[in-house]
């Protein structure tokens, strides 16, 4: 059998980076599916790209600048209306700093 492209430990590492609490069965399914996809993607190795520049955007673009000036923005109440939890004019989150 060919060597796996991605190991269980790598899946766990990437899931941590992506902030996804995967269940045990999810992890194994994810590993085998990613393995199949990465095996397919491996065909890119056949292509010689030496000296080829990267294309981050297909249409040529330049930075768009404007004056840094105060403009109207949405009122805080509207911005907070979708918050899962709020307290006054703040988003409420679980504790970050240990006491």
């Amino acid at each position: 059998m060919a060597q796996a492209k991605i190991t269980q430990a790598e899946v766990e590492h990437v899931a941590r980076l992506a902030r996804l609490d995967l269940s045990e069965p999810e992890k194994e399914r994810m590993r085998s599916q990613l393995d199949a996809i990465l095996t397919y993607i491996d065909k890119l190795r056949q292509l010689n790209t030496e000296g080829v520049e990267a294309t981050p955007h297909a249409i040529p673009m330049v930075n768009v600048m404007r004056e840094d000036e105060v403009r109207p923005c949405l009122p805080a109440g509207e911005m907070l209306a979708n918050a899962p939890e709020r307290e006054g004019d703040f988003f409420r989150v679980p504790k970050i700093i240990e006491e």
Binding site: V14, D21, Q33, L34, L47, H57, A58, P94
Partner: protein, 482 residues
């Protein structure tokens, strides 16, 4: 059902009125949408109010233009002020945007009437609309089959006569492939042609909003209304917007049409190949000059896409953290645990897969081998097209290698990805692409012809499509829904 331009003509002649027409659409939705399930949210009240306003303008002889009072369906990835915008995801199930996307501002200014928001693959990731967290949408031509995706709800709504036109978004084929599967016209504009402000981001260097309609003229009218530079989207381009309908009817005498040999591969549905080959003969008979061209990197475009799009997605979807909006999982004892649980419960399997793939491709040690490599391949894909367009004006090929498949038929993610093999290169190169009906299989399923154009040359695509449409009967067929 009438086309967008027919509706406009009937409004102006007084033969029809927006309120009656909008009522008729809601009646059809009530009868037929329980079978098709194109919509996730209906906006009846605001639609009727807008229809009344349009009616007043029409009566006063002062309509806003060809879209005044025209009923539309909007993919649920486009932000609509005060109307829930879910991306067919549990994580955004109750999200109500505080602002309108630029395309919605423009459609409102044109007098168009939104009937509701349409179902899609979660966060536009998929090719069948089965990845919706809510329910799958069915193909109006055969309810056992998928409408394509990710804009399956918009395509099905137009095909079933549940809207006169629709907006979708296309990152790797999500307008063109469902347009082909449902027998409608669908346009993916040039990257930068239409503002993405208020489009929930999937892969920012690939995403574009575009129209669906029952005919080419309808698609041209919708594109006209939404195209153009927007200061709120720094990737929208300040290139003048031509009059798209003016180009229709001019014929295609002498048009140089390239046929990319890599788009006629083994393993494609023989009925698709036959219909597309016949369509190319029709273009010839109308005066087009065809020639074979080669796009040698085609075979690698899909692999490059499945690094670039997930990489961008993993970064874009980092914003769903259960803090500012959307779902939050209960019981997280600290912030990190809350994030992890919220995202695990809020995202469906395909979205998680792509976030994982993208995070992996961008992670230390793999970045150059995967993401860097894919961006270089993207350059080669672009060059292929640039070279072809030195010799031809448009490219003609199938939109998809297959026709609508059965629900549940493609369970393997990679098999699903391969549905987009002919549409993905166009997004990587930022080009405009259009799908229109070019025939039906023996069993009555629509087949799509894809036309690909030079950057910002949607006019040529539309005029070629229009000439083809006028010479063929396919757009006039409608599914037999009861």
């Amino acid at each position: 059902m009438p086309t967008i331009s027919e509706l406009g003509a009937r409004y102006r002649s007084g033969e029809a009125t927006p309120t009656r027409v909008v009522e008729t659409y809601f009646q059809r939705i009530e009868t037929l949408d329980p079978q098709v399930r194109a919509y996730v949210t209906l906006t009846r009240e605001s639609a009727l109010a807008r229809a009344e306003a349009a009616e007043k303008r029409l009566k006063a002889g002062n309509p806003r233009g060809p879209l005044d009072g025209v009923p539309l369906a909007i993919k649920d990835v486009i932000c609509t002020k005060g109307v829930r915008t879910t991306c067919s995801s549990k994580i955004l199930e109750n999200f109500v945007p505080p602002y309108d996307a630029t395309v919605m501002m423009r459609l409102s200014a044109a007098g168009a009437v939104m009937l509701g928001k349409t179902n899609m693959d979660e966060f536009a990731m998929g090719s069948s609309t089965e990845n919706s967290a809510f329910f799958p949408t069915r193909n109006p031509w055969d309810l056992a089959r998928v409408p394509g995706g990710s804009s399956g709800g918009s395509a099905a709504a137009v095909a079933a006569g549940l809207a006169a036109g629709a907006l979708g978004s296309d990152t790797g084929g999500s307008i063109r492939q469902p347009a082909a599967f449902c027998g409608t016209v669908g346009v993916k504009p040039t990257y930068g042609r239409v503002s993405r402000y208020g489009l929930v981001a999937f892969a920012s260097s690939l995403d574009q909003i575009g129209p669906f309609a029952a005919d080419v003229r309808g698609a041209a009218l919708l594109l006209q209304a939404i195209a153009g530079h927007d200061p709120l989207d720094s990737t929208s381009t300040d290139v003048p917007v031509p009059d798209y309908t003016a180009a229709l009817g001019g014929g295609i005498q002498g048009l140089r049409v390239g046929i990319p040999s890599e788009y006629f591969t083994e393993g494609m549905d023989p009925e698709v190949e036959k219909a597309v080959s016949t369509a190319i003969e029709v273009l010839k008979s109308l005066g087009a000059k065809t020639e074979k061209v080669s796009l040698p990197t085609t075979n690698y475009a899909l692999a490059a896409y499945y690094l670039i799009a997930p990489a961008e997605a993993s970064s874009n979807l980092a914003r769903y953290d259960g803090v500012k909006y959307g779902y939050r999982a209960p019981g997280g004892k600290d912030l990190i645990q809350m994030y992890g649980r919220t995202r695990a419960e809020g995202f469906g399997p395909e979205v998680k897969r792509r976030i994982m793939l993208g995070t992996y491709a961008l992670s230390a040690g793999y970045y150059e081998a995967y993401y860097g490599k894919a961006q270089r391949v993207r350059t080669l894909v672009r060059r292929d097209f640039q070279q072809a367009f030195e010799r031809v004006d448009v490219l003609a090929c199938p939109t998809a290698p297959n026709v609508a498949f059965k629900l549940g038929e493609k369970e393997d993610p990679l098999q699903m990805y391969l549905c987009d093999v002919f549409t993905i290169p166009v997004n990587l190169a930022g080009l405009p692409g259009l799908s229109l009906p070019c025939g039906f299989t023996q069993s009555g399923l629509p087949i799509g012809l894809q036309l690909i154009g030079k950057p910002f040359d949607e006019s040529t695509l539309l005029s070629a499509a229009y000439a083809f449409e006028q010479a063929t009967p396919w757009h006039a067929r409608a599914p037999a829904l009861q």
